[in-house]
């Protein structure tokens, strides 16, 4: 490995050369300088603002001790409610996206004609972005949109169904933008499972449902947990669609909106940092619980063959 370790001097000087050599043996040499700019930039643009933000959140504008903002956040039910509203959107969206991806990816693995086209079609919404999807939802699901028109003409409903400017509009936008990511990840995990394992189960008499439940799902479960984490991260930061197709003053006032309003409408950067920090905390909480559960699952080779 130590390809670029400095050449050993003929007669090693006891001082500097020895130290350099010892460092090189632990993997510290000039190659690490290549890492320096990246670490500096992340430190300057990510770590420093985060620490600054945490510090700012502990200096409330309205006084009340270092934890005043946090106390304010949790005593004010309008602010406290945003946590629940965010989770109520993000958790179902992530669960549905991951859950729907499993059967579809199960059918789509292996080779068949049109697989590439179908995959591309399912991945297409990635490029749409939340703003465009929100705009489209306003047109399509609106009271005069095509969706309601079809329902009315088929006499399924008597009045237009209200699907925008409320919870459902935001959930739909999260499903449309989040599904492609979840699907791509699940598909790649699914492709990593050796199909011969399933065939082996079939020769031992397992039916399709048993093969799915006893062979495929256990091997897939760690991947599903990871996918859930990433899908949850995407859904948790819902901001544009909550403003555009949601009810930003009521039902879909998510944490991101509360943070934005504090910063750019009330100019209370301290409170905004508090909400941002809390957002990170709640998100990491869900992620750690998921990863903790994931640790209890089987993780190992998903390949059949001799000696494995």
């Amino acid at each position: 490995m130590a390809v670029e370790a400095p050449p050993r001097p003929e007669a090693p000087a006891p001082g500097r050369g020895g130290l350099r050599h010892r460092l090189a043996e632990r993997g510290v040499d000039r190659v690490l300088l290549l890492l320096l700019p990246a670490v500096l930039i992340i430190g300057l643009l990510f770590l420093y603002p985060m620490i600054y933000g945490v510090g700012l959140s502990l200096q409330p504008k309205n006084g009340g001790g270092p934890l005043g903002n946090y106390a304010d956040f949790f005593t004010d039910s309008y602010q406290r409610g945003t946590v629940w509203k965010t989770l109520k959107l993000a958790l179902p969206a992530a669960l549905i996206n991951v859950g729907a991806s499993v059967p579809i990816a199960y059918r789509l693995r292996g080779r068949f004609r049109g697989r590439r086209v179908l995959t591309a079609l399912l991945v297409l919404p990635v490029t749409l972005g939340t703003v465009l999807v929100a705009d489209g939802l306003l047109r399509y699901l609106g009271p005069k949109g095509w969706f309601n028109r079809i329902l009315l003409d088929l006499h399924i409903v008597d009045e237009p169904v209200r699907l925008i400017y409320n919870y459902w509009g935001v959930l739909f936008s999260l499903l449309i933008t989040g599904f492609p990511f979840a699907f791509l990840l699940v598909l790649s995990y699914m492709s990593g499972i050796d199909p011969t394992l399933e065939r082996a189960a079939a020769t031992l008499g397992a039916g399709p449902w048993q093969r799915m439940r006893r062979v495929v799902l256990p091997l897939l479960a760690p991947g599903l947990a990871t996918t859930f984490v990433l899908a949850f991260v995407l859904a948790f930061s819902v901001f544009p669609s909550a403003n555009l197709v949601g009810e930003p003053a009521g039902e879909t006032r998510v944490m991101a909106i509360a943070a934005y309003q504090a910063a750019f409408e009330k100019y209370d950067y301290s409170m905004a940092s508090t909400i941002a920090v809390l957002m990170g905390v709640f998100e990491l909480l869900v992620i750690s619980v998921t990863l903790l559960l994931r640790g209890r699952l089987y993780t190992g080779p998903a390949m059949g063959g001799k000696g494995s």
Binding site: L35, F46, A120, V126, R139, I176, M279
Partner: protein, 290 residues
């Protein structure tokens, strides 16, 4: 020899896999999703070409004036230029800094490596708003917010770790013996990079670059928090227009949305020409596990 060539028994059949009712249900759901998605996109496109659309299935007439209106009113020429400039600078910087960093991370085991990895993972895992608001506060303090530099800096935060995380497995695939051989033949470090590593890493660099390009064009939150009217990208301009309905004609907003969609579609086609989506995710998927 007129007999038809028969497929060997071992190969799977081509065509869509079919069979039990469960399979049909899955395909029906996929079809429902795709039909609705298509109708959603189509209603934006139709509206952007329509004159008035109060009732009925289609607008009363069709016109293309909304596009010229939107182009002038939203100054889309400038916005598109700014979008391209910001995106290209972000991609170039992220690659220039990220590829060597990915190399160092792949080749060396050093004390504190796990901390560095964690530090690089955090911007990918945290919602952009979480670090976007403190970052915007800091950028306003040093008077960088509202400038192109500020927008580029904010967009680098998720882009740079992304490049590093994508590049590391690519570097790991390259045999260290190739580098040793180049050194034995007298190549210096710079030459090893430019003559040996970069050509070998080109598929990975290309993939990472295109993905960062797509992500930066679609990145709303960070640009929105940091940019002002002169440094906003197309998606932020679209949001601002859509968020203040009534002031602008809905059709003009939709015209802008269609322009954004066209830009994204072009990028997606370019991306799909160079990268296989499932392979990319397979490269990335190892990262969240640790």
């Amino acid at each position: 020899m007129t007999t038809a060539v028969t497929r060997p028994a071992g190969l799977p059949k081509r065509g869509l896999p079919r069979g039990r009712p469960g399979t049909w249900l899955v395909w029906a759901c996929v079809a429902f999703f795709l039909v609705n998605l298509f109708a959603l996109i189509l209603s934006v496109v139709v509206n952007s070409f329509g004159t008035k659309w109060f009732a009925g299935w289609l607008p009363q007439g069709f016109t293309s004036t909304w596009y010229s209106d939107a182009w002038d009113e939203f100054a889309l020429g400038e916005v598109l230029t700014v979008t391209l400039e910001i995106t290209l600078v972000v991609v170039a910087l992220a690659l220039l800094i990220g590829v060597p960093a990915g190399y160092a991370l792949a080749r060396r085991d050093f004390p504190g490596k796990r901390i560095v990895m964690f530090l690089l993972l955090l911007p990918v895992l945290l919602p952009p708003i979480t670090y976007g608001i403190p970052l915007a506060t800091v950028l306003y303090k040093v008077h960088l917010a509202g400038t192109m530099t500020g927008v580029v800096a904010a967009n680098l935060v998720p882009a740079l770790p992304f490049v590093i995380l994508v590049m590391t497995p690519f570097v790991e695939q390259i045999d260290t013996n190739v580098e040793s051989a180049a050194r034995m033949c007298g190549a210096r470090t710079r030459q090893v990079f430019t003559r040996v590593l970069v050509p070998l890493l080109l598929p990975g660099i290309l993939a990472a670059g295109i993905l960062v390009l797509v992500r930066t064009v679609a990145m709303f939150e960070l640009t929105f928090l940091v940019a002002d009217a002169d440094s906003q990208t197309l998606i932020v301009a679209l949001y601002s227009a859509a968020f203040t309905p009534g002031i602008r004609a809905a059709q003009a907003i939709d015209a802008m949305a269609v322009i954004y969609m066209a830009l994204s579609a072009v990028l997606l086609i370019i991306a799909l020409m160079f990268v296989n989506p499932t392979q990319i995710v397979a490269q990335v998927r190892e990262t969240p596990a640790e």
